[in-house]
């Protein structure tokens, strides 16, 4: 287990009675793609900001690689390089004159020498598929999807072991959504980076995930494999979350007596599965 949240609770201030996070515990394994899903205000963003110690819990703690990250002498700067966090809005992060310089910001902060910084920036930009001719344009002239790629590269350049993406698909059209999520998957498959996706939509992230954690009102509602979580569609609905449409259709077909596999998370596989069943 790489990352363990141990009875995590968080409040904005002591006077406030309401817990933003309320006794949340789970563990994440190395090399997994984990999705943390919940509605606005479910505490998912607050939760991930604990992973790299941007927030300090009121109670409980987090263990990374067997060590308590909120221990006094833990090196939290090094932690932030190991657990890379990409925020939702690229505009909150991009500031340099060129794309390339902006990606250099992270590794420069780690105190690496110039050559290493530039090599890492180049590799990171290549990895996310930013074309060479964009390297020296201003990041503010890019499209939303391109900006997103550059921000991911900006964090990747620090060579993180865990990459946390907050609402990676928000505000992007379907083509870009797919592309960004494919980058995440490729990082896991090729480099063994553990991926944590944060989203409010099951539809988007389900088929990429090995493991889903559902948050609701600061509490952990469900935790398990994709199938295990989707089995509990009723509980999900209570948290006003829906299972993907294709999965819902398969579950309905199953109820009607068709022997289809319900572990289907996107339209293509749904079509394939229905075809397979009908051929019988």
């Amino acid at each position: 287990m790489l990352l363990i949240a141990d009875h995590l609770s968080y409040k904005y201030d002591k006077l406030n009675k309401k817990n933003v996070l309320d006794d949340v515990s789970f563990s994440i394994n190395k090399g997994e793609i984990v999705s943390i899903i919940g509605h606005t205000g479910s505490g998912k963003s607050t939760l991930i900001e604990h992973f790299n110690a941007l927030n300090t819990p009121t109670e409980g703690t987090i263990y990374y690689d067997g060590k308590d990250i909120f221990e006094k002498d833990y090196d939290r700067k090094a932690l932030r390089a190991k657990i890379g966090l990409v925020f939702q809005y690229p505009d909150h992060q991009l500031f340099e004159e060129t794309v390339y310089k902006d990606v250099c910001f992270g590794p420069t902060n780690l105190g690496l020498d110039k050559k290493e910084v530039e090599l890492r920036a180049y590799e990171a930009l290549k990895k996310v598929g930013v074309e060479d001719d964009l390297f020296f344009t201003s990041p503010f002239e890019l499209s939303g999807g391109q900006k997103k790629k550059v921000t991911i590269a900006g964090v990747l350049a620090m060579k993180p072991e865990v990459l946390v993406l907050d609402e990676p698909t928000a505000g992007l059209d379907p083509k870009w959504r797919e592309e960004i999520l494919n980058i995440a998957k490729r990082l896991r498959d090729e480099d063994g980076v553990t991926i944590i996706l944060v989203s409010h939509s099951m539809e988007d992230v389900a088929r990429y995930s090995d493991h889903i954690i559902v948050m609701d009102h600061g509490k952990k509602l469900l935790d398990g494999t994709v199938d295990e979580v989707f089995e509990q569609a009723e509980i999900l609905r209570e948290a006003s979350l829906d299972i993907p449409e294709s999965t819902a259709i398969m579950r309905l077909l199953r109820k009607e007596g068709y022997r289809v596999n319900t572990a289907v998370y996107d339209a293509d596989s749904a079509v394939r599965e229905i075809r397979r069943t009908l051929r019988f």
């Binding site: 904005y12 900001e49 790299n52 941007l54 700067k77 932030r80 390089a81 890379g84 966090l85 990409v86 925020f87 809005y89 505009d91 909150h92 992060q93 991009l94 500031f95 910001f105 992270g106 902060n109 780690l110 503010f140 900006g154 964090v155 620090m158």
Partner: protein, 275 residues
């Protein structure tokens, strides 16, 4: 944390003071401030204190909110008091090392302490009991005469309310940007001053870009709703004096006369004693 900063620190409750017209409250605060500087005898300060306590009680705002403002000027207050205590010439009470504490100094220090305290608490009552938008409305109305000398009063008021509206938005944005850069190992508490200033560039650039974008969007939205400057614009809730306001003005007048009378009386006494 940036979250803790509250400009326009309105305390939401219902009270006689909250209900007053913002013009009344602004003028009242001004009268009070002037009185603190104009009259400086023990008795007038006693009246000022009594007035302050009355207003605080009427406002129903917990006293700790009023004292919050004191925290900000604490250092300033200490320095002023010490400065007056040690550096006023006069009849020495006692002295140590290079310092002389005089009767006059002691009096002056005590006076300064109360003057500043009353000033800060008094003005904070205004901001605690008046919403920012009401405050700008009041200021606009009070600045109205300046129109005669071609001051664009309505535009200034509009700018003020827009600025007030965007303070929390930009504060939250700063917080988010800071976190995003911290996540890339940015270091904001370097001991080296030059490095520290430089470390704020990654926050300021995105913040400015976003502020300009917001300004642009807002201008477009205003344009789309046919905003054409302040002249002749009507208000949804025009300011209107109520019975409470006249009572407040009367109390202010009584307060002013009482303070003035006491000052005159004391000066007269001194005059008589000397004569």
């Amino acid at each position: 944390m940036l979250r803790d900063i509250t400009l326009g620190q309105y305390y939401n409750t219902k009270s006689v003071i909250h209900n007053l017209d913002p013009r009344t409250k602004i003028l009242g605060t001004m009268v009070y401030m002037v009185s603190l500087f104009a009259f400086n005898s023990f008795w007038t300060y006693l009246i000022a204190f009594a007035a302050l306590v009355t207003v605080i009680v009427l406002s129903k705002v917990p006293v700790r909110f009023m004292l919050r403002g004191m925290k900000a000027i604490f250092l300033f207050l200490i320095i002023t008091v010490l400065y007056n205590l040690f550096l006023t010439q006069g009849d020495t009470i006692f002295s140590f090392w290079i310092f002389n504490v005089t009767i006059q100094g002691l009096k002056q220090a005590i006076l300064m302490f109360f003057r500043l305290t009353f000033l800060v608490v008094g003005t904070s009552i205004l901001t605690l009991t008046t919403t920012p938008s009401n405050l700008t409305d009041g200021l606009e109305a009070l600045m109205y005469p300046l129109k005669l000398v071609k001051v664009p009063v309505a535009e200034i008021a509009m700018m003020m309310s827009i600025a007030l509206r965007f303070i929390p938005v930009l504060t939250e944005e700063t917080d988010k940007i800071m976190r995003a850069q911290k996540a890339r190992c940015a270091d904001f508490d370097s001991k080296n001053l030059f490095k520290r200033i430089k470390s704020y560039v990654p926050i300021l650039v995105p913040l400015f870009i976003s502020a300009f974008r917001r300004a642009n969007d807002l201008a477009t939205a205003m344009e789309a709703r046919a905003y054409r400057g302040g002249d002749g614009r009507t208000k949804m809730k025009p300011l209107k004096y109520k019975a409470g306001d006249w009572i407040a003005y009367t109390s202010m007048l009584i307060y002013g006369i009482a303070a003035l009378a006491i000052t005159v009386l004391i000066n007269f006494q001194i005059f008589m004693l000397k004569a």
